[in-house]
């Protein structure tokens, strides 16, 4: 029975399944603990909270697949939210599409700087983006003079965006911001599965040297991955502005580790070469559920939230590695046995003809 399954499904595909089961288990558990857990209001709050980390995570997956990492994302989100927010308070002429475009372009430019340093400057991504994480934040602090963007100064249309709803079923809303985030996941997954660029990211992350020998444009693709991660962080910056309205110079600080944690929990290999957008989506969902539910769970002190979250990240990563390791062994065993059987069969046929 299990052999038949193993012949059909690759171990990596179990990964998403495991995450779905764990997430459902958590939801069921918290539903028994927190009254009104599935109320439309709390569900809406949960889904809206997903939007920002999700968009950033999509970009992070592109980068991590190539065996790199982008730690500067939170500074990009903060900078874009602040700069675009400031521009919107100063000029009435800036329309909605233009503001979104500007956010994405500004983010892409900052991401391109990362890409240049990593891909063409040959600086390890951890060093480069650790540096720009500090640098972008400082540029923001210096040029803003530590002033704050406030909701009251922002145009009215912007303040209406968070409650804009695409679809509503019995009080459960699919908000516009969540729709945008899901769209980036779908587009990202399509790019990874079906576009040559996406396939090349896997090849580069699996073995950069081999990818280069095979003639893949490694530098260009890594650069593009960083630029896209920046662009998506820019979009997330706009969503941040929309959601919070009041933007200080410390906006989005710490988001980078939440996103990296989500991507790792979602089964994207930190050494590159394997992972999917669906996994990242599940990772973001899992961490967001934990964060929001632990806050509301009366059974536990609010101060325990981070302690439990740390433990769960460790458990998720361990379970993933151990279970996946076992599955992969079993998968290889079944394959090998099938191969041997096939060989034995052909050898048997060959022997018979020889004998005749």
């Amino acid at each position: 029975m299990s052999d038949t399954i193993l012949r059909r499904v690759r171990p990596e595909q179990f990964r998403e399944l495991i995450l779905v089961v764990v997430t459902l288990g958590l939801l069921a558990f918290f539903a028994t603990q927190i009254p009104g857990y599935f109320d439309p209001r709390s569900v809406n709050r949960l889904t809206v909270g997903l939007a920002i980390p999700l968009v950033v995570a999509v970009g992070q997956v592109l980068v991590v697949l190539t065996r790199n990492i982008d730690l500067s994302v939170s500074s990009i989100v903060g900078m874009v939210a602040y700069v675009v927010g400031t521009l919107l308070t100063r000029s009435e002429a800036l329309s909605a599409p233009l503001a979104v475009l500007l956010s994405i372009l500004l983010g892409a430019a900052l991401g391109a700087v990362n890409g240049l340093i990593v891909a063409y400057g040959r600086v390890p991504a951890v060093i480069a983006t650790l540096g720009t994480l500090a640098l972008y934040r400082v540029v923001l602090v210096e040029f803003s003079g530590a002033r704050t963007v406030t909701t009251a100064d922002l145009p009215d249309w912007l303040n209406d965006v968070p409650s804009a709803t695409l679809l509503a079923v019995g009080g459960y809303d699919l908000r516009l911001v969540v729709g945008v985030a899901l769209l980036t996941v779908i587009l990202g997954q399509f790019a990874l599965r079906s576009l040559p660029f996406g396939r090349r990211l896997y090849a580069i992350g699996s073995n950069p040297a081999a990818a280069r020998t095979a003639g893949l444009p490694v530098e260009r693709d890594v650069f593009t991955a960083f630029a896209l991660s920046g662009a998506l962080s820019g979009l997330a910056g706009f969503l941040f502005l929309v959601r919070f309205g009041n933007i200080t110079v410390t906006a989005a600080q710490g988001l980078e580790l939440q996103v990296v944690a989500a991507v790792v929990v979602g089964g994207v290999n930190i050494f590159g070469g394997s992972g999917s957008m669906i996994g990242a989506l599940m990772g973001v969902l899992l961490i967001e559920i934990l964060q929001q539910s632990l806050l509301r769970w009366a059974g536990i002190s609010e101060f325990a939230r981070d302690a439990i979250l740390g433990l769960l990240i460790l458990l998720a990563v361990t379970a993933d590695a151990v279970i996946l390791g076992r599955l992969r062994e079993a998968w290889v065993r079944v394959r090998r046995r099938d191969q041997e059987r096939a060989q034995a069969a052909t050898a048997g046929v060959g022997g018979a003809t020889h004998g005749a």
Binding site: G121, V264, A304, D306, L314
Partner: protein
């Protein structure tokens, strides 16, 4: 002699020494009495806990791993001391418990990295979140102070003349770390593991044990730094030492330790520690705020790797544009170019 000096200066440590001299020169000209003992002690005191953790982080990174949980561990150990003190436990015992907690969690980090085979980035990310969470659970949103006078004196006053306990410990640990890294079997094992864990395993190196030992030490030393910080500040919050991991890792990488493991020297790490201390001091003198200092150090971090890479590239590009040297007379170093390593050895 002259060539030998050139070669030395071209090394990473040489570059750091030159940078250090420039920063020192700036500080000395701008501040009277900069090089007095008192002022140097003050300079070290301000970042002494980070400097102590830097020593052990060098081992972690040379062995090819990373420990993001050090700053959270510093906070946790300070919180353990504070919470036990509040319960009436004698401070020396509380310190011992805190050190035990540090070593224990370091061991757990090492176990998950070396035995379970998870990436240290993921494991210590969990520690980064989790240890800070435990600290928050222990001291919540309070600020715990009122420690006995001997404890805070130990953190703030000179032990031998003006030299504080923290600085003394740093000096001892720096010597121990240098000897352990460069003149002991353990140091060789750390380099081998960092260069190539599979190759080390095939040559009979107990890779897992080396890594577990290094992570345990990392936890223990971070806990020690946390206790020292509690003594120096005289008050403990859940956010004690928050964000220190970036500074600590930056100093190690700036010291010439490769993020991919297997490369780096204690001399470079110590030079970079002193350089960053002086740089921050110089920036304060120049009226630059703390946040901007971090940004400048971030820029320095990028440039420290980018500049040599671009330099090499530029040279390679020039070489490519010239006719193939092998087709002509034997290669002669162009006038003014620096001798290669092979030429001087």
């Amino acid at each position: 002699m002259g060539r030998e000096l050139w070669r030395r200066l071209r090394s990473w440590e040489g570059l750091l020494a030159i940078l250090l001299l420039v920063v020192l020169a700036f500080n000395v000209t701008r501040v009277p009495n900069f090089l007095t003992v008192t002022n140097q002690i003050n300079l070290f005191q301000l970042g002494i806990e980070k400097a102590i953790v830097v020593l052990v982080m060098a081992f972690v990174i040379i062995s090819g791993e990373i420990d993001l949980s050090v700053a959270s561990m510093m906070g946790l150990s300070a919180a353990v001391v504070a919470a036990l003190f509040e319960l009436g436990v004698p401070v020396p015992l509380a310190i011992l418990v805190a050190l035990g907690v540090g070593a224990g969690f370091g061991l757990i980090n090492g176990f998950f990295v070396a035995r379970v085979g998870l990436s240290s980035l993921a494991v210590t990310l969990a520690g980064y979140v989790g240890f800070r969470g435990l600290a928050r659970l222990l001291v919540q949103d309070r600020s715990v102070g009122g420690f006995p006078a001997w404890f805070t004196d130990l953190g703030q006053r000179g032990l031998i003349g003006p030299v504080t306990l923290s600085i003394l410990l740093f000096a001892i640990l720096a010597v121990v770390a240098a000897v352990a890294l460069h003149a002991s079997g353990f140091g060789r094992l750390a380099y081998e593991v960092g260069n190539s864990a599979p190759a080390a395993r095939f040559s009979g190196v107990p890779v897992a044990r080396v890594k577990i030992a290094i992570f345990t030490l990392s936890g223990l030393v971070s806990a020690l730094a946390g206790v020292l910080m509690a003594a120096r500040l005289g008050a403990v919050r859940a956010s004690t030492a928050e964000g220190f991991e970036l500074d600590i890792i930056t100093v190690v990488l700036l010291g010439g330790v490769s993020i991919f493991g297997g490369v780096g020297t204690m001399l470079g790490v110590l030079l970079s520690t002193y350089l960053v201390l002086n740089l921050r001091n110089g920036l304060v003198i120049a009226g630059v705020t703390g946040n901007t200092q971090t940004g400048i150090i971030g820029l320095l971090l990028i440039l420290s790797v980018l500049a040599p890479n671009l330099w090499e590239r530029g040279r390679a590009g020039l070489r490519r544009r010239r006719p193939e040297p092998s087709l002509r007379a034997p290669p002669v170093a162009p006038a003014g170019s620096m001798p290669s390593r092979a030429a001087t050895e």
